[in-house]
């Protein structure tokens, strides 16, 4: 019974994915996106748009991501201190 329900669920999900892929378009006409796409090479000198965005336009994003990594590692060192080989 459970396998039947799961397989019906899978079939519905698959049909939904195919439907979304075929019907729904993938264009979002936002001004700032097109500005980034057309001007990143002149503004930052990068060849890769992603690098231009995360190292120049959205610098705060990168800094706070690095902060998140640092904070999580501090927390991990704190909680793993009890019981260990070293």
């Amino acid at each position: 019974m459970r396998t039947v329900i799961v397989s019906i669920f899978v079939a519905f999900l698959f049909a939904g994915v195919v439907f979304l892929y075929t019907v729904h378009g993938d264009t979002t006409g936002v001004d700032i996106a097109s500005y980034y796409i057309y001007n990143f090479a002149a503004d930052t000198g990068a060849g890769n748009a992603v690098a231009a965005i995360y190292l120049n336009y959205r610098m705060y994003d990168t800094i706070f991501e690095a902060l998140i990594l640092l904070v999580s590692i501090i927390a991990m060192l704190h909680f793993f201190r009890a019981g260990g080989s070293k």
Partner: protein, 192 residues
Amino acid sequence: MVEFLLLGSMLVLALLALYTGPLRIAVIYFSVFSLICSFLYLYYQAPDVAIAEAVMGSGLITLLYLTALKRYRVYSVCYTNTDFPTVSDREIIEGTRKGELVREIEDFCFARELEPQLVFTPQPVSEVLQSGRHDLIIHQTGDKITIIGNRENYVIDELEMLLVLRYQDLKVLVERYGGSSEYGDDYLPEED
């Protein structure tokens, strides 16, 4: 064509990873899922994400999941059958009665929060007992099925109750041997 097939298989793998009992197998499903996911990122022209997914999914994630799984105790079950030179997996895949028995034991282990690990050998029982690796041994000669477990193993009494109730047609016999440190000194089943 390519994307539809891969998207469908990704769905199947994700649902399998959710609904499988043995969690180590779910780790494998998830690993393959991330492989196909990375290829689809490439196909949709996002190679940055594809490289990150490849590195993460191929190594780091596996280590984290396996460390989390260490809390479960692995319960190794050995299926021996001296009649055939190589043990085929026909008993397990197809829906025979013996396959149901093995499945039943696996489900039984899940209910006790043990991770069953199945192994097939054509060796005689005495060698398997001497190796001392296995917690439970299912021994089949002809029609007769013997289940051998340690006497200190508290699970085996419940298992006997269950098997006597449900599998009367299969001639199931439950044997015990004693002492957790010395395997096979007390008890050696007769070979025939």
